[in-house]
Amino acid sequence: MKTSVEPISLKPAETPDFLQTKKIMKPILEVNNLTMDFGGLRAIDNLNITINEGEIAALIGPNGAGKTTFFNCITGIYKPTRGDIFISPKGGKKERINGLKPNVVTRKGLSRTFQNIRLFSSMTVLENVMVGCHPVTKVGIAGAIFRNPAALKEEKHIVDKSYTILQKMGLEKFVNELAINLPYGAQRLLEIARAMATDPFLLLLDEPAAGMNPRETKRLDDLILKIREEENISILLIEHDMKLVMSLSENIHVVDYGKKIGEGTPEEIRNNPVVIKAYLGEEIDA
């Protein structure tokens, strides 16, 4: 009988899950030849980075390598000197976002956190997240004053949405606390929660684990995975905690002096001689 012979599958079953999906993945952020000059200083030099849908990617490099500058360029805080930044969100068209204002970039679905925590310190934790809902709501002055049904409904919606996000981040016990009174680790999580409220398709995390103890870092690790699985948000993170980077990311981009010096899976990066040189300095052979 023919049934005894297994038909040759076009889809190799042995391929690990993430590699298999990688092939059909489409890029959601493409940065081509990005250059950023500050006067005579070239902070970013011809950087090419592509982030795929559903990916957790990391951007690493020594201090002053231009990682945060890169974030500032894509989120519109800086206007890049040269190069192109394209986004292609789910179901959306490919779009060039160079030189757009930060608030417009956020509305397009790129949301970020900051290296030095930038929370709204005089507002409560919940309100911080509610501010994050700003781009996805549209009540105007009249609606705010007269509280018509549409405005009330929207307000209730964002309160519920914000609370749900806080629950996911495990911050619900701080709901009515002022953001400034939160412990450091919780403030970092709140920044992520706030960024998630803007409904991004790509979350840019700038050193989310900075200042966290190992237990908090472990929790962050789980949370980032959870965000990717449940919310279907891709993540690009800048991080110095190599344990976190290696365990989380599928693709690592290494920059030094604004140039890309390596890209690959954690395993490849770990064995990349150029990367090792950048991090540890040159080995002197006897």
Partner: protein, 401 residues
């Protein structure tokens, strides 16, 4: 040990003051008899006075530092409790309402007039509170919008005979437009720079009013501005004042209502986000320019309406009523009362306007007290008399809200 240190420092301060004031307090040259009077007693007074002040100051600072950690745990202060606990707030509101309603009938017309101007300042304070307390834009030219409102009523009434009720919204809208005109060029500025530009704007408006004789009748101003009439009835002057009093009370309540709702809305949160962190605010998708312009326009609206009431109350406007000093007073009401806090700003305005009126005998000490009180406030209660407390939301614990 530390107490001894503090005393030592106080002694040092007193010696320093004795030295500083030596030439003016101790030496007195009588130019006629060519004799020098050595008034050593004055030196002793200065020394003792400086020592006591310094010691008191140090004591208060120490107490504040010790109390700072305690107060956090205690939670709400006494005033906040009254405001937030229903049991207290409803009777307090009822008493306040009865007092407000009966005020013009119990007290004289002079008192009512003072109250009207105090309430105008409450309105101004609440308007400026949007700009400074919520959006964090230091506006030192706020009085310009007040002037726009007042002159709008004076001029529109003079040329076109428009009545109070028509000009009231018009004055508000006109001021809002001026707010946007001011706001547009200063979108990029913040902090001190913004303060300087707005200060200039306030002066420009005043100088234009003062010098453009054909338009505003210059320094001599415009007189005979009518008070609002009640359904065409011919009221006596005192009845008109009482009527105006109720109008301004209603306007203040309206202002409180609107600002309260705005504070607790998407727009209010955007303002506070802008004040707390401009970069993060933009990263949350908030349009900085739009938010700032909204704050300037909405803040100016109340000043414009307050200006219309002011013109109706005094029946006369001239540029001298709109000096930089008025801006400073309004700013003080906001800072003293508590930035962002509605109750704080109201009590700040009432205190700052009513106290000097009732303490006219001490008029010459007005400025010095003003300054001293502000400095003390900044040191001991930087949040103002009644600090702003953010709204608390309730959720069922455990359930999926």
């Amino acid at each position: 040990m530390t107490v001894l240190d503090e005393i030592k420092k106080s002694v040092f301060a007193s010696v320093w003051f004795m030295f500083l004031t030596f030439p003016i307090m101790v030496i007195k040259v009588n130019t006629v008899t060519k004799v020098i009077n050595w008034r050593w007693m004055n030196m002793a007074y200065v020394g003792i006075g400086a020592f006591i002040f310094s010691a008191l100051w140090r004591y208060a600072i120490r107490k504040k530092e010790m109390g700072a950690s305690k107060e956090k745990k205690e939670g709400l202060s006494f005033i906040q409790k009254i405001l937030q606990v229903r049991q207290f707030s409803i009777p307090a509101l009822a008493v306040l309402a009865v007092f407000t309603l009966l005020f013009p009938h119990v007290f004289s017309m002079y008192q009512t007039n003072i109250m009207i101007s105090a309430l105008v300042y409450v309105m101004l304070g609440l308007g400026l509170n949007i700009v400074i307390g919520l959006a964090g834009l230091l506006d030192l030219g706020y009085v310009a919008f007040f002037a726009v409102g007042a002159y709008a009523y004076a001029l529109l009434n003079l040329h076109f005979g428009l009545g109070f009720w028509i000009v009231l919204p018009l004055g508000g809208i006109l001021s809002a437009i001026f707010g946007i005109i001011l706001g547009y060029p200063v979108l990029r500025l913040r902090g001190d720079y913004l303060a300087i530009v707005t200060l200039g704007f306030g002066e420009i408006i005043r100088l234009v009013l003062e010098n453009w004789n054909e338009f505003s009748y210059g320094p001599s101003g415009i007189a005979n501005i009518p008070k609002p009439a009640l359904f065409g009835l011919d009221l006596s002057l005192s009845a008109k004042t009482v009527y105006l009093y109720y109008i301004i009370v209603a306007l203040v309540i309206f202002t409180i209502f609107v600002i309260n709702r705005l504070t607790d809305s998407r727009i209010g949160r955007a303002w506070i986000a802008l004040k707390d962190d401009e970069i993060a605010c933009q990263a949350m998708g908030i349009d900085k320019a739009k938010t700032k312009l909204r704050a300037f326009a909405l803040g100016a609206t109340w000043a414009g309406m307050g200006g219309v009431v002011f013109a109706a109350k005094t029946a006369f406007v001239n540029p001298a009523s709109f000096t930089i000093w008025e801006s400073v007073i309004i700013l003080c009401t906001v800072v003293l009362g508590g930035m962002g806090s509605i109750v704080g700003v109201i009590s700040g305005a009432l205190l700052l306007i009513l106290l000097p009126e009732y303490l006219r005998d001490f008029g010459q000490f007005r400025m010095i007290t003003f300054g001293a009180v502000l400095v003390l406030m900044m040191v001991f209660r930087p949040g103002g008399m009644i600090e702003n407390v953010r709204r608390a939301y309730k959720f069922e614990t455990g359930g999926d809200a």
